[in-house]
Symmetry: C2
Subunit: 438 residues, 2 copies
């Protein structure tokens, strides 16, 4: 019988440091709960010099991941190096060497999940990736196990802390997108290169995983229609508030008759909905099940210690399964890949909904008629319109709310409106999510 | 290798019917996920005649639980009969026969958990009780496994749907407690005998379990200081709103230096707190961890299908563990009873806090001075006071908000105030939970 599990960590950054701290601080508790100690025996990182504020025994920190991958005494490899190149290779090597793996790398799993999960199934090892979505919120295990007897009809939520922080801040304290982003970067709440977060790529990575977990079907990263928050202005937030909505960056997946609609975009959420109150660095995921109906999971979606709890939770599960000789007890997605259905993703352009349109146009006779004419001919019916007096001479702001409209037709109309001489700058399109459950 | 698991159900009421429906409806999905079919082969209930709207094969429904307990071919027994007498005996018999068990019976586990959990550990079988707290919200598995690497500092929430419905309804639609309760009984949202719910007993049962799961320490039902909602009036709800609070029936557990404070009572929750928006039949549990910080779990806390998802989730976990030969992989509480600490529960009377006091007193000179004198001598300092003009001649309503005060001293003061001739009727004391995280 196994006396302890030996863990190697590749990538000694923020989350890695959190894992080291948590394993040390709660050492006895973890051993008592699992039944055997979980020992972190080696850490590989190119930077072996930087002080991370944790004391390690001599020889634990090494510069080369091979010292972990090639060590047959190491049972579990934690991959926290990020990226999809070397990380993928190391993961596959670890799995082929019959090691169990744990990771927080949603990009890797969104792009190479099929390959990695298949390797895990073949090797009969374990993969933990609770930290890859929602930080410490146990949404992966919840979908993979707890709710496995239900059929889900929809899943939506706030899964990126950076965009939620920026939108919350813009809404609470004012300020335009660029300033609030710069401030978030100063405070360490946005990356130096924030592209993945603010353009919705990170949220789409996470949604790719959530769709597969919740609906039992395949989902490729390219199946997710993705929009970021760069074009959101104070004006949009103010209009949203006036209409009774909060502006949120949502990840949404809806099961339709024979398809899955998966999309990431800014959205207007009714102020009475619980998601409207999820602010700052919090994440929240709402799951709609046929039997369970609506349930919601809220917590810090990032950060050293919150994310570390998810990694340590995975280590404990893997250690338990090793101790009890039942590795591979649960398939990576909660069901074997062999039973996964492949559904045709619904092209985002085909998904219908209600929309908010904002544009600036010259205050000339006939402009409004031309714009509404274009919308009308596209079959987009207008629910309400606001025209604001210009502060100085110049273009006026026009805001439209549509009735339920076909997204593709709407986009075509927007392109036509954008080409009008009297219309200046971008036409901003934001989905209104009136139909969210709860 | 096991080809299927055979399940027997004792107690064919609402939840039992939900379990039958869900197992039937999602039969293939459950088999695919677990790896083998989960077959419900026998149901025992005294009432074998009533039409529950589900079709059963002939001979499945029997009047005697012995047909399940004494059948060696049955692997898992679901106990949904309720109560703490026969249910306890049946559970212990099933466990001793090396059957796995699943239950929704919080009363049983709150009163006899030590005995049942010890029997489970000894027999090396499995016990699932996800359905016993929060309906389908997977809070048990979350505390037992996902968050097992963290140390929790507090846990609080709304864990009784009946009281939450009544308070939400009183607050939204008006009406006094007795009318709203009667209406809830008509709508099937309160039991014919609502005592366990409205007096907080059900919530205290659940808190007894949550404390043990979250803090790794023993907790007896009698350790929980329990108050119900019978004395809450429209006046209290209106004052709460004026002060910026919602009135909720909370279960609260706080880890102090060397003790656990566990209590169930009505409380004023700041309107900006997420719990304030949890209305109707919803339950919500907030967990404060040292590493994860605040996380929250929200969903329907009762009802046929929501609760059935939790039971079926347990069946799937047990079936997986049988298939993979790892029964007993996780101890009933997430840690073996042998490492459970026994902490002295903090007498509720000793817990300090800030409070709201409402009383009716004759509008006479000196009355206010006498009341404030009693509070002052007890060391209870007043933060604010409101006196309302009486609608007709008669006693006026006095409302006090205290600064942080010792609960025992406050209770003594309240007893003294109650004895004043000028004070009429009950003195209502409601805790103000200003310090809730998030």
């Amino acid at each position: 019988m196994q006396r302890a599990v030996r863990v190697g960590l590749i990538g000694f950054g923020t989350i890695g440091t959190g894992v080291v701290k948590l394993l040390k601080k709660n050492r006895e508790q973890i051993r008592d709960r699992v039944g055997i100690p979980v020992n972190l025996v080696r850490i590989a990182d190119i930077d072996t010099k930087r002080d991370r504020g944790v004391r390690l025994a001599k020889g634990v920190l090494v510069p080369d991941a091979r010292a972990i991958l090639n060590d047959p005494s190491i049972d579990i490899v934690i991959e926290l190096m990020g990226g999809t190149g070397l990380a993928r290779r190391f993961m596959l090597e670890a799995i082929q060497a019959k090691k169990d793996v744990a990771t927080a790398n949603k990009a890797l799993l969104a792009h190479h999940g099929d390959e990695i999960f298949a390797a895990v199934e073949r090797a009969g090892v374990e993969i933990g990736y609770e930290a890859s979505v929602g930080g410490g919120i146990p949404i992966i295990r919840t979908l993979r196990e707890s709710l496995g007897g239900d059929r889900h009809s929809a899943l939506f939520g706030i899964v990126n802390g950076t965009t939620n922080y920026i939108l919350s801040k813009m809404s609470e304290a004012g300020g335009e997108f660029a300033e609030v982003l710069a401030e978030a970067q100063t405070n360490g709440l946005a990356e130096a290169d924030p592209t993945f977060d603010i353009d919705g790529v990170d949220a789409a990575h996470k949604l790719t995983l959530l769709v597969q977990l919740a609906f039992g079907c395949g989902c490729r990263f390219s199946d997710v229609a993705t929009e970021g928050i760069r074009s959101i202005t104070q004006e949009d937030i103010a209009f949203a508030g006036e209409f009774g909505y909060a502006l949120k960056h949502l990840a949404v997946a809806v099961r339709t008759k024979d398809s899955i609609e998966a999309r990431v975009h800014p959205a207007m959420v009714p102020l009475r909905h619980s998601l409207a109150a999820v602010n700052g660095a919090l994440n929240a995921i709402v799951v709609d099940g046929e039997a369970l109906e609506t349930s919601m999971y809220v917590g810090l979606g990032a950060g050293m210690m919150p994310t570390a709890t998810a990694v340590v939770g995975d280590l404990m599960e893997i250690a338990r399964n090793r101790l009890h000789g039942c590795r591979g007890r649960v398939a990576p997605l909660g069901y074997p890949l062999s039973v996964r259905t492949r559904v045709r993703p619904l092209a985002a352009s085909a998904a219908s909904g209600t929309f908010y349109l904002r544009m600036r146009a010259l205050d000339q006779p006939g402009v409004l008629a031309r714009i509404s004419g274009i919308l009308g001919r596209a079959g987009v019916s207008i629910a309400s319109m606001i025209q604001r007096e210009p502060q100085r001479r110049g273009p006026v702001t026009l805001v439209f709310r549509t009735h339920c409209a076909n997204h593709r037709a709407l986009r075509r109309a927007v392109t036509a409106i954008h080409k009008l001489k009297a219309v200046r700058g971008e036409v901003v399109v934001i989905r209104i999510e009136d139909s969210l459950a709860q």
